[in-house]
């Protein structure tokens, strides 16, 4: 208890507790000190194994889960790679047919239709409960 050295009673009690702890560790015989023996009973209980333990195959199962996670990570990386290829292909299509898109974009009716579709979709996202009640 070196953080409160001014408190002698606490210091003595701490020393007694530590003495009891050491006596239990070294399996010493009973002492002629009632207080010390009380603490030894407490220390004995504290040193007893817990009432429940991990299963004997716990380590094996955890290691197996880690292997499974590694496999899943590989799958995830493969999915991302496929997505990237898809995105590149989409970009290629956009560039390849840019003349067609430009022609469509020059038609004001088509632009207005696209704007309406986009706006209704956006409103549905912003106020989903309102959109649902209407539907």
């Amino acid at each position: 208890m070196n953080h409160e050295p001014h408190d002698d009673a606490k210091e003595r009690e701490w020393a007694l507790q530590e003495q009891a702890f050491k006596a239990e560790r070294l399996v010493l015989g009973a002492a002629d000190n009632t207080k010390l023996e009380r603490y030894r009973t407490v220390m004995r209980a504290l040193r007893q194994p817990m009432d429940d333990e991990l299963a004997p195959d716990f380590a094996h199962n955890v290691a197996a889960s880690v292997m499974q996670c590694d496999d899943m990570k590989l799958e995830l990386y493969a999915s991302w790679a496929l997505l990237a290829v898809l995105a590149m292909m989409l970009l290629g299509v956009l560039v390849r047919y840019s003349a067609v898109w430009m022609r469509l974009a020059s038609n004001p009716w088509l632009v207005a239709l696209a704007a309406c579709v986009a706006l209704s979709g956006l409103l549905g996202k912003l106020w989903p409960e309102h959109a649902a009640s209407r539907g």
Binding site: T41, V42, L46, Q48, L54, V62
Partner: protein, 189 residues
């Protein structure tokens, strides 16, 4: 950090067969003691132990060999248990523990027949129940100090608490158990 720890960490990072299983086997008892003592619910504790080792595997590259591997893994287990208790809104320490401890120290009597008390199995069971009633942090600190026989410095590395705080918790909880032991003896036939 020991050479064995260093070799084991390198083996796990190199994906050597059986290395991670060996790491788990070597440190699962400490992990269980930390988590089960704090959480108390066996099923939750098992899941959290598994979560701890998954995190250890995930972050092992960040381990800088500055402390023993045991302390580093213990720290991960402690953090996992602490977050679980926070999510469940369970307090890890009792707010008025200091005042209660001083009162107990002042009011403690000497009239106690220990020999008669030791003869009773009921008393041992009562003591274990008394340990269970301690706040999670104190239960865990007592276990690390008495059952795992970790030094106060090692416990400080695991919990991040100051050594004085750990000593204070140990002192108060052992005092409380001693008092409860006496109360139990008085109540036994």
């Amino acid at each position: 950090m020991s050479q064995t720890d260093r070799q084991l960490v390198h083996a796990v990072l190199a994906n050597a067969p059986g290395a991670f299983e060996r790491l788990v086997r070597e440190h699962q008892a400490l992990c269980w003691h930390i988590i089960y003592r704090m959480v108390r619910h066996p099923e939750d504790a098992r899941e959290l132990c598994q979560d701890t080792f998954l995190r250890v595997h995930q972050h092992l590259r960040q381990y800088r060999h500055e402390s023993a591997l045991k302390s580093w893994i213990g720290r991960v287990a402690y953090t996992v248990a602490l977050r679980h208790l926070e999510r469940k809104r369970i307090a890890v320490v009792s707010p008025h523990e200091e005042e209660e401890a001083l009162d107990r120290l002042e009011n403690m009597g000497d009239g106690f027949d220990l020999e008669a008390a030791q003869a009773s199995n009921e008393l041992a069971a009562y003591l274990h129940k008394a340990i269970d009633t301690l706040p999670p942090l104190q239960r865990m600190l007592l276990t690390l100090y008495h059952l795992d026989e970790l030094s106060i410095d090692e416990i400080a590395q695991i919990t991040g608490l100051a050594t004085g705080t750990i000593k204070s918790h140990l002192f108060r909880s052992r005092l409380r158990l001693r008092q409860q032991l006496e109360t139990a003896y008085g109540e036994l036939p």
